[in-house]
């Protein structure tokens, strides 16, 4: 059973999340404060972190940053604010996705499952995008034999683009393919993660060559040297 670490100061909500997630086949680790969260994280490495933005002590965004420093584990933020500012801050700190309270529990479960989903059962097991080697089995990418750490979401995003070189993906298409959204118009998720991905894999993030922006439409994999093996 996948282990979900729930970080939330509201004990009742945390307990309720525990009940719902347990009922949906997750193992749950409850943490009630931002302080000391890293010790628990290291002691019992979870498969996914569910993190409330509003926490006493260090706030959720800071916790997110701390976790990202040492792990590529999927992080989903819980926020009471749908406001641009907090959402973007959270995403920039390394969160893969966010849920706005009050959320539908079945939607939460669905979203967590997408984040834990293993991609790569396809026939194509090895991809190249530019000078990057993408190994879909090991979930790693490497440039000149040196591996570049990516979060699973970033990996999925890169693979989605690289699998169909030349195809222009709209943000909505990426939201549905990578995040599993059906009717979503919050394209900030895509924008922020494309930026994060670029900063990791592009030689110059300001002049991207691997992930190109198609103005007014979306994104596509750079044609420079992209090929399938």
């Amino acid at each position: 059973m996948p282990l979900v670490m729930v970080v939330d100061d509201d004990q009742d909500l945390a307990e309720m999340l525990g009940i719902v997630l347990n009922g949906s086949g997750f193992e749950v680790d409850l943490v009630n404060s931002g302080d000391g969260v890293m010790e628990i994280f290291r002691a019992n490495v979870p498969d996914l972190v569910l993190l409330d933005v509003m926490l006493p002590g260090i706030d959720g965004i800071e916790v997110c940053r701390l976790i990202r420093q040492e792990s590529m584990v999927p992080i989903v933020m819980l926020t009471a604010k749908g406001d641009t500012h907090d959402v973007v801050l959270g995403l920039e700190a390394g969160a893969d996705d966010y849920m706005v309270k009050p959320f539908n529990p079945s939607e939460l479960v669905a979203r967590l499952k997408v984040r834990l989903r293993r991609t790569g059962s396809d026939t194509v097991t090895s991809l190249r995008i530019g000078d990057l080697a993408v190994d879909q089995v090991a979930h790693t990418i490497a440039r000149d034999g040196k591996s570049i750490p990516l979060t699973r979401l970033e990996f999925d995003l890169l693979v989605a683009l690289a699998k169909e070189p030349g195809r222009v993906f709209t943000r909505e298409a990426l939201l549905s393919e990578v995040w599993g959204y059906q009717h979503a118009t919050d394209t900030r998720l895509v924008n922020v993660h494309i930026q994060r991905l670029r900063s990791k894999i592009e030689r110059d993030a300001d002049n991207p060559e691997l992930i190109l922006t198609v103005r007014g439409v979306g994104y596509k994999a750079g044609s420079a040297g992209t090929s399938e093996k």
Partner: protein, 522 residues
Amino acid sequence: MNRLLRSWRTSILVRVTAITIILSAVLILVVGSLLSSQISNGVFREKMSASISEADSLSNYSQGQLDSTIYRADLKLQTVIDNIFHVEDVNANVIQREVILLPTPKASLKSNMYQGSSNFLDFSIIDSKFREQVRAHATAQSKYLTIKYLNGLHVNGIVVGSTITIPKDMVYEIYYLFPLTQQQQLIGLIDALLWISGAVLIFLIALITWYVTGRIVRPVREAAEIAEELTAGDLGRRLAIRGEDELGRLAIAFNEMAVSLQQQISRLENLSRLQQRFVSDVSHELRTPLTTIRMASQVLFDARHNLDPASARSSELLIAQIERFETLLTDLLEVSRFDARAAILEMREVDISILVRQVADQLHAPGDLRVDAPASPVNSHVDPRRIERILRNLISNAIDHSEGKGVVIRVAESDHEVSVGVRDYGIGFSEREGERLFDRFWRADPSRSRLRGGTGLGLAIALEDAQLHEGTLKAWGRPGLGAHFVLTLPKSPGIPLSSEPIPVIPQDAPSTALFEIDTDDI
């Protein structure tokens, strides 16, 4: 010309200065003309009397000389007459006087022998009427005339005529002609001086008026500018206070007004900010427990088959009401965001037709729902989330109120605008209802709206969203004949609407008793 007219209308300074120039010019013209004519009259009169006395003495002297020739052998008559004609040439340029000697008409041919003049003069300038006048009077007669030389030179002058007797008993008329050249030059000089000083005076008056008016107008203009800036929202602006006169008092009073205005506004702003903060905080604070409640109810709902019928039904009601509560909370938060002016547009280029079709498909309308959109994409820069929300609201409203008589959604565009019209043929609304249509928490028919769980904030939010795009949302309706809601947006932000691709009064509207709700007034 237009600019002149404009500054005439808009600037006191220009107007006052112009009026001053015109009035002082008229005044100087009148005074100058009067002065000039007085001066020239005086000068000419003076010359006239001088001429008369000079002519008198000359003719008396000549008469005496002529009379003496009878007794004195040494005095030849011809010499005396030559002397009469001899004009002392004091200055070659200035003719002192001319003399004409004419015989009286009744004199005999023989007595014409002394006729003559001091220069080559045209004798005809002395008309017969004046000659008769001279002959009729014993004293010297005078008048103005033009002295004409035979070489064509014309000079204004004075003629003084009298009679003279040449021995023996030959009566001649003697005319002394005095040119007025000097006087005319003098008067010309005086006139020129008058007009030049008049012009200088006008210029100086204009300058003074400009300066003085400017000194008074400048603080007024500053006050106007600062008042405009205050109106525009820059509440920190103040007038500079100079002196303790009326203008100084104006500045002080103005500043006091601005201070009290600023205090009032900031007090109100604080209040409303506090209130908005409160609404926003409440909404946020409610969300965490609501999340817990929602999950709990979902667990109960999922397990309702194991519960007794009453508990099972309760769990159903619970989950439905929580959903409603949640929608209300979301709407309330959105409204508080509008009130706090914290709503931000996230613009993207989208095809409005596709957006309309997506929303229509999602709503799965029972009955007849028709979308009538151009074949080519209607691309616009909008916040798709907000536009989708407006469309969802309008279309679901139309479906709710159509009574199954069908809904027609039309998309139309012009160069810079795009309109979406949502028309239904259901219950419509009355004028009185229409006035409150966009009010918060207002429902035309509560039982009906609740069918779809409307919060009563939908149209209010839709209107705010439309206005955030600098667009309009208008409504038309008639009881029993349906309603028509038209959303019009600029294709790119910042361009004011100049046309409405779809007019709010539908084409199929009955021609009588129309009314529309113009949300611009709300």
